[in-house]
């Protein structure tokens, strides 16, 4: 397969959409539950983000492959079925062969099923597009999600405990211990940000920050409204 296709204009747009323009959290306001529930630390955010990304990649692929088979009346049950099966698979395999990781993430894995963005992407993109773009979309949306997870987790962790990526070695393996940092030693801790209210508030400020950045960028380039509304249909890479 030729990787250079990933740099063609439609794919670049998918990439941009996923990472920034149409970011799952910051723009679409979806996937909020895992976002707020597990971002007590940056490490948790990273782990959950990666797991979600993997599921999105697979689910978008699976949905796209079978899109011609699925009647619209029962598409939702089928999509959900597919996603749930994938998530359960991930859960089972992690539990069996990466038990330490599973112990940390275990509680949150079933939550992935109900992460609305996975179904959202299946509906909005994968059920209408060929496999390759769909999978790329899943990957990029997942990546955009992961980035926000890590940032939110990071901000909450630093402000509430003064550390960053604590426990990274437990979750991701000894190789990641280098990530663990103490930003503010002897920090008293601003507990608020670690608790549910703080999650919402920090997220509010994050969205405002994106808006600020966008405004700065917008003066340079301007995107017409129509383009945002219509999802691009991509030809090429047909299965």
């Amino acid at each position: 397969m030729n990787l250079s296709i990933l740099f063609s204009a439609p794919y670049r747009k998918i990439t941009r959409d996923g990472l920034w323009d149409n970011n799952v959290v910051l723009t679409q306001n979806l996937a909020l539950c895992p976002l707020l529930a597990v971002t007590g630390t940056a490490t948790n955010g990273l782990g959950m983000g990666l797991a979600t990304m993997a599921v999105m990649l697979a689910s978008n692929g699976a949905v796209s492959v079978s899109r011609h088979l699925i009647p619209s009346e029962i598409r939702i049950p089928i999509f959900v079925l597919l996603i749930a099966a994938l998530v359960t698979l991930v859960d089972i395999f992690l539990n069996a062969w990466m038990h330490e990781l599973h112990k940390v993430l275990g509680l949150f894995i079933p939550l992935i099923v109900t992460n609305c963005v996975i179904l959202g992407r299946a509906e909005a993109f994968a059920s209408k597009q060929p496999v390759l773009p769909s999978m790329w979309d899943g990957l990029m949306m997942g990546a955009g999600f992961t980035v926000v997870m890590v940032i939110l987790g990071g901000v909450r962790e630093v402000t509430s405990a003064g550390t960053l990526f604590s426990n990274a070695s437990v979750l991701l393996g000894e190789g990641f211990s280098f990530l663990e940092t103490v930003i503010i030693p002897e920090y008293k801790g601003f507990l608020l940000t670690a608790l549910p209210p703080g999650g919402f508030i920090v997220l509010g400020f994050l969205v405002a920050a994106k808006r600020l950045l966008d405004k700065k960028v917008k003066t340079v380039q301007h995107q017409p409204v129509a383009e945002i509304i219509a999802e691009p249909v991509i030809n090429g890479g047909e299965l």
Partner: protein, 241 residues
């Protein structure tokens, strides 16, 4: 003799059938055909069932392949906890295998039945350990595991799970603070009832500044655990095997 051609013909037949099936599938999968099928009720039910079948098969086999492994991992986890509260030197048996069920409905341990793991050296019970719960922690129940030696002295206590406030109540975790180690060696005999309390209430155990409730409730629960052990001491220490 003539079995060979038979086999050949059978395999040829099978091949042909396969080929036909493939072709049929290809025709069936034609977008135009699917277009026709999709609105049909029969098809819809079938396709949902089909996907369910697919998922079930997939998961079924995945589960078949991993069930044993997962069971084992869980045992290992439990074992790891038990080892923390019962020193390895005290036993030569498999703790997980040597258990008795004890009625604990009156002991305030948060369960009707408590599974007690027996540590044995050369067949003699040297220590017991069991899980119990402090149901009234600041934010919710606190799960603990405790090892007690023959004389009712604590060998070790660990918190398995809790939802106390991070930064305050979570100092009961061994990874956050050494506080929990203060119970090692304590028993109902070497401390009076009044001493089984946090310092603020006139006892010997530290509280955390700003968070007294969590340690208070943990102390109370551990003491209840010891009382439970005491009341079943004889029964547990006599080896019935």
């Amino acid at each position: 003799m003539n079995s060979k051609p038979e086999i050949n013909s059978v395999s040829a037949k099978a091949g042909k059938a396969l080929e036909v099936a493939r072709q049929k599938l290809a025709i069936w999968l034609e977008p135009a055909n699917l277009e026709k099928l999709r609105p049909q009720l029969r098809y819809q039910a079938g396709i949902l069932a089909g996907f369910a079948l697919l998922a079930a098969v997939l998961l079924g086999f995945a589960d078949l392949a991993t069930r044993g492994v997962i069971q084992q991992r869980l045992q290992e986890d439990l074992q790891a906890y038990l080892e923390q509260v019962v020193p390895a030197g005290l036993h030569d048996n498999n703790l997980l295998a040597d258990t008795v069920q004890v009625n604990s409905s009156a002991a305030g341990l948060g369960a009707e039945q408590t599974e007690v793991y027996l540590a044995k050296k050369q067949g003699e019970v040297t220590a017991v350990c069991f899980k119990f719960v402090a149901p009234d922690g600041y934010a919710g129940p606190i799960s603990l595991v405790m090892g007690v030696d023959r004389n009712g002295e604590i060998l070790g206590v660990r918190v398995i799970a809790h939802i106390e406030t991070p930064g305050l109540g979570d100092k009961i975790e061994i990874s956050k603070s050494k506080w929990i180690l203060a119970f090692n060696g304590k028993s109902l005999n070497n401390l009076t009832v009044e001493q089984w309390a946090v310092k603020k209430d006139g006892g010997v155990f530290d509280q955390f500044s700003g968070a007294t409730i969590t340690p208070r409730k943990v102390v109370q629960a551990i003491r209840r655990g010891l009382v439970f052990f005491q009341s079943h001491q004889a029964e547990l220490l006599t080896d019935r095997h």
